[in-house]
């Protein structure tokens, strides 16, 4: 058969469900790091709904994973902003903060991670929650390896400052 008229000529996008199969679990881990386990599942769902809405209009299918992570990051930021408006325990004026949800482990540290600027936050979560190398962090964020490294470094610097001030 010859190539037929497509929806977006020249763009070959895989069936949407293959994106769910390929990336949902990892996106979920990423979002658990960003917004905590309670909100993460909803956040995964909202990420895929937004993606589905925009999907046929994509101009290319080159880095669908980075595209999904960008959406996920945006959804996480929405959640963090939304939950920050709810009354929460006082954290010395640090904002925005997520409420102390049932995150196991080091709650306080993660509240501070969630208060990082979006890029630093995503980079730190990729690096330490998903245990990715910088080149992989860059791939998922659609930025260079070096930019990924810088975002992690900047995030750590800030965390270190806050943690030593407050915890030690």
């Amino acid at each position: 058969m010859t190539r037929r008229r497509g929806v977006s000529p020249g763009v070959q996008l895989p069936p949407f469900e293959t994106l769910i199969d390929a990336h949902a679990r990892e996106l979920h881990r990423f979002l658990v790091g960003l917004v905590g386990p309670t909100e993460a599942e909803d956040c995964v769902q909202e990420t895929f709904m937004s993606a589905l809405r925009a999907y046929p209009r994509l101009r290319h299918g080159d880095n669908l994973r980075a595209w999904l992570y960008t959406i996920a990051q945006r959804k996480a930021t929405d959640v963090i902003r939304r939950t920050a408006r709810r009354p929460t325990r006082d954290l010395d004026g640090i904002e925005p903060v997520a409420p102390p949800t049932a995150t196991p482990g080091d709650d306080e540290l993660w509240l501070r991670v969630r208060a990082l600027p979006a890029k630093q936050r995503a980079a730190v979560v990729h690096r330490f929650v998903l245990d990715l190398a910088y080149v992989e962090v860059g791939e998922r964020m659609g930025i260079s390896e070096e930019a990924a490294r810088q975002n992690v470094r900047a995030g750590l610097r800030r965390l270190r400052r806050e943690v030593t001030t407050n915890d030690r």
């Binding site: 046929p56 540290l109 993660w110 270190r160």
Partner: protein
């Protein structure tokens, strides 16, 4: 530099709860359908001829697949031709499944589902539309179908079109035989053709 911050970060999140992927798929398919964002839905039906994959669009039945192995490739084709908004959503294929059940149970002689013809073009489309007119229990020949489709001499091309019929059973290409009485070929293998012709009383049970 190697204070324990990095280790604390790694440990802090704790174990990630498992994501129920099946539930996520189901929920997303339902929400997509509710919001008019599901352009191609598919589901399976365990027929007497083996598992069939039913693929439907907003226009109707677009493919009925005998081949489990080819489904991924066929969905990729639909992504290019119809829309990449494709998800498994069995309830969207219920009507087709119900009519197929009735057909195999011997209680239905004609299918009443809209057909989406977007997978066939040109002469193949004319051949399959002509084929769709052959009634239950009747047969035609490749040459007759080619004639119906407007090119009496193109019976080989008609054979090819029938051989790549995307909607077998419902578009009854099994009702097209060689003029001399031979069964000819079949997209799902000749045994399936024989089965369908027996079911319709054309061949002795």
């Amino acid at each position: 530099m190697t204070d324990d911050l990095e280790r604390r970060l790694t440990d802090a999140v704790g174990p990630t709860p498992t994501l129920d992927l099946d539930r996520l798929r189901t929920t997303l398919a339902r929400r997509a359908a509710d919001n008019g964002l599901l352009d191609v839905a598919h589901g399976t039906y365990d027929s007497p001829l083996g598992p069939l994959t039913i693929m439907v669009t907003s226009r109707g039945l677009v493919r009925l697949s005998y081949s489990h192995e080819a489904v991924d490739e066929q969905l990729a084709e639909l992504a290019a031709v119809v829309s990449p908004r494709i998800m498994a959503a069995p309830e969207r294929t219920d009507e087709v499944r119900r009519q197929l059940e009735d057909y195999f149970a011997g209680t239905r002689r004609a299918f009443d589902v809209p057909i989406d013809w977007r997978l066939v073009r040109g002469f193949a489309g004319a051949v399959l539309r002509a084929t769709a007119q052959i009634r239950f229990g009747a047969v035609s020949s490749y040459r007759e179908i080619a004639t119906e489709a407007g090119s009496p001499n193109a019976y080989r091309a008609a054979g090819n079109a029938l051989g790549s019929n995307p909607i077998p059973i419902v578009v009854p290409c099994h009702r097209v035989l060689h003029a001399g009485g031979g069964l000819g070929g079949y997209t799902g293998g000749i045994e399936r053709k024989r089965f369908l012709l027996r079911l319709e009383g054309v061949l002795p049970g």
